[in-house]
Amino acid sequence: MNVKQIQGIIWKCNLCGFCPKDFECPSFDEDARWESSYARGKVSIVHAILQDEGRGFQNSLLAKDSLFSCTGCGHCHYICPSGIDIPRIIILGKKKLVEANNYPKTHEQVVENIKKYKNPFGEKEPRDLAWPELKSNVDAETVYFPGCMAIYRTPEVARNTLKLFKILGEDIKVLENETCCSGILYRTGHADLLGQLVKQMLNELNEKPPKQIIFTCPGCLTAFKEIYKSELKEKFNNTNLLHFSEYLLDKISQLGNLESKVKVLLGNEIKEPVIWHDPCHLVRSLGIYNEPRAILEAIKFPYIEFKQNREDSNCCGSGSGVRSAYPEMAEKTTIQRIEEVKELGARTILTACPFCEYQYNSVVKKNGYDIDVIDLNILLEKLT
């Protein structure tokens, strides 16, 4: 989206103030409560940057902190009565600040890591270490895209997903040129650097379009659907881009009768009650909130809901480079979620996003909470 198009959206913000305040917005500064920490204030800041004309807004530290502390969770977009895509406006603002070299320095490293190592963490191990054979499985019509987080930080998600594919008899492959989806570059204002690596990956997809690409990371799936939408659409209209929960829903019966095992698992390995956390990208970017619930209901797995759930769910605090640039803010948001988990009496957080899982687990461990965190695919694998 270019500047002119963004201007066409910004004017629609009538500053009504309905956008989430309080803890619904992870970057809202409860103590200071300045306008710049509200979603509508961030829109004002992007407006200011676009209207800059020598006033120096692009070099402002406040503008940097306000915009880059946005996790892109999209709660403001959901709440906005005018339906304004505020995160998209903020991303354009970030882009302008990157052009002015005014962005968190931790993001520089992320950019370098993606360029050099194909992942944002700077991990030097090859991406396909765990499944080299899948790379050459050229006949498979289903591609599994695990994403950097599942490969390097929550490998049990990727491993268990592969096991589930095997049980389901799905012939899969991974991409020869798999790289970071680069959603993080887009969401931190570095869209111009999406670059060669991603192009190679997309070319590979274009050469022989698969029947479907299955993702376990909602962030990666959102990147493919949003950022590469036009490029992918032109070349292979017939390829389905699916989150694993969408893919699995029709096939859940093929995993066998899991109901009997649910009771055993809950009595032993998994602490009750279990609470379902809706990942932001999954519910607000992709509109997927019925599928995971339908899977849990199909196997009669008991769970409870957060007070705000589905499209109105609250962010885990991570995302869009906030975890690296503003770790205290990310942790504060996660703690708010965990405190609600405690208030509701839950002892296990169940989710379907490696990023959310990793963020929750980090904060749980650091602060010594007696809470477990588990991914849906790990749960399902345990039941099979």
Binding site: L15, R33, Q51
Partner: protein
């Protein structure tokens, strides 16, 4: 740019972390919806404050007012910044006093049914507290911004909205105020009683004065017992004129809590708003709908609803009538609260920015004149090839006329001014008012002479001068119809009709 020595004085009063002069922060406080749109055309509409400050208590407010008088600074009080008249715009620069730190509910007295609050308390928080008391109470004002506005802002603007037809406006629930006048004098106005004729009604004078007489530091509000039930009858019609007639028939039978009208575009906007909520409800798209909210004892209210259903069903132009309860009722009113902004969801894309003419947004006219006003509005819009919509609190004669006009140049700004002038003249000639509830602020101030006559407005100015002799409080609003911007009328509107 404020003098550093003066900034230091503010810091001395309230602390460094509560004084902002970063240009980016100031910019965030420089617009409302209208000036935001106009600023794409001209920087004249960037109303940058010199400082934004956040006092914590009345003592600090007093010190700030004293400092402003000593240093000849302008003070602009601000609540949640949700008003539509430009009340909170620092059009002459100055210091914005943001009240969101003065946000304590000080007392809920269920013996005498009053609450004492600081001005920065969010109305939704007070409502939540009142609802959660043993018996359940409420203050029955329902401005569209009820979920986000502050009590101070409601009082300063005499907010009302959807339930004014039965329950009146904020004014009807304020018992007492503590304020710091423009002179720096600290006053208590009002008593803990509903009825008093003791002296001049300064309380009423203060309510709706848009921060031009003094700064509210504490408010005592009366609350009522919550009704047993709420339910809403929605009637859909094939003609907006018929809907207006039907509303009159309803009024003759009962005074509902709310009696709202929405035209086809508004219904589409509301549906767009509702589409994001689960479970789903969808409103029938028709030329017009009436939303009739009833409250009270269950049997009486249900009987009233049935009567209204029968009444509307027998109308040959009625397309559908239904009663909404529970979540349907709640969602409907959420959608109604967000109906104005929701129109932007369905707004066709412009190649440029746009705005609505703010002075035609909020007329009230005698009920018998509503049709004339709406018809003329439609004619002007059609003549100018501008899409338009009509909605509002038809039960009390308050109609919101909305249209979105693309802005490419100063000529478009003048065009908006011309449209406003014609419609404002009409509304006033019909015996109406230029603003029923949104306030004068900047955008409607030029029309006060036309509505009240020069002498009366001059009297208002003299009253203002008693409370605020140095004109430090919210200058350029209400009484001051400076022809500063092309957007405002340049026609001769000084004579009372």
């Amino acid at each position: 740019m404020i003098d550093p020595s003066i900034k230091s004085k503010f810091i001395g009063i309230i602390g460094k972390q509560y004084v902002a002069d970063d240009p980016v922060e100031l910019y965030c406080y420089s617009h409302d919806f209208v000036s935001r749109a106009l600023s794409w055309i001209s920087k004249d509409y960037d109303f940058m404050p010199d400082l934004v400050i956040k006092p914590k208590n009345a003592d600090q407010v007093k010190e700030i007012i004293d400092l402003a008088n000593a240093e000849n600074l302008k003070i602009i009080p601000r609540g949640a910044g949700t008003s539509y008249g430009g009340q909170f715009l620092p059009i002459e620069g100055g210091v914005i006093m943001d009240f969101n730190r003065m946000n304590k509910i000080l007392e809920i007295n269920t013996e005498d049914n009053y609450a004492i609050v600081e001005p920065g308390v969010l109305y939704k928080d007070l409502r939540k507290r009142l609802r959660s008391t043993d018996k359940g109470y409420w203050i029955p004002c329902n401005p569209g911004s009820a979920d986000v506005c502050t009590i101070g802002g409601m009082i300063a603007n005499d907010a009302s909205g959807e339930s004014a037809i039965k329950y009146g406006t904020t004014r009807d629930y304020v018992l007492k105020l503590e304020a710091i006048l423009g002179t720096g004098q600290r006053v208590q106005i009002g008593r803990l009683v509903k009825k008093t004729v003791s002296g001049l009604d300064l309380l009423s004078l203060f309510i709706g004065s848009e921060g031009t007489l003094g700064v509210i530091t504490e408010a005592t509000l009366q609350f009522l017992a919550l009704p047993e039930i709420f339910l809403t009858v929605v009637g859909f019609f094939d003609s907006i004129e018929i809907a207006v007639q039907a509303a009159k028939e309803i009024k003759e039978y009962v005074t509902p809590m709310s009696l709202e009208i929405a035209d086809q575009l508004v219904l589409s906007g509301m549906n767009s708003f509702l589409s994001r909520l689960t479970p789903k409800i969808v409103l029938k798209i028709s030329k017009a709908a009436l939303l009739i909210r009833l409250d009270g004892e269950e049997k009486v209210t249900s009987d009233q609803a049935r009567y209204i259903v029968n009444l509307l069903s027998s109308n040959e132009h009625s397309l559908d009538v239904k009663i909404m309860r529970g979540f349907e009722h709640d969602y409907l009113w959420k959608a109604r609260d967000g109906a104005g902004p929701s129109l932007l969801r369905i707004q066709r894309p412009f190649r440029t920015v746009a705005t609505f003419p703010p002075a035609i947004l909020d007329f009230s006219v005698p009920y018998s004149k509503i049709q004339v006003l709406m018809k003329k509005f439609a004619e002007i819009m059609r003549a100018n090839n501008i899409a338009f919509t009509r909605m509002g609190h038809i039960g009390d004669g308050n109609i919101h006329l909305l249209c979105t006009i693309p802005l490419k140049s100063e000529a478009d700004i003048r065009k908006i001014g011309d449209i406003q002038d014609e419609l404002v003249k009409l509304a006033i000639s019909l015996g109406g008012s230029v603003t029923a509830e949104h306030g004068c602020g900047v955008w409607k101030a030029p029309y006060l002479n036309l509505e009240h006559g020069v002498e009366v407005v001059d009297l208002m100015r003299k009253i203002k001068a008693i409370f605020d002799p140095n004109n430090i409080l919210n200058p350029g609003k209400m009484y001051e119809s400076k022809k500063k911007f092309n957007f405002q009328t340049t026609n001769n509107l000084s004579e009372k009709s």
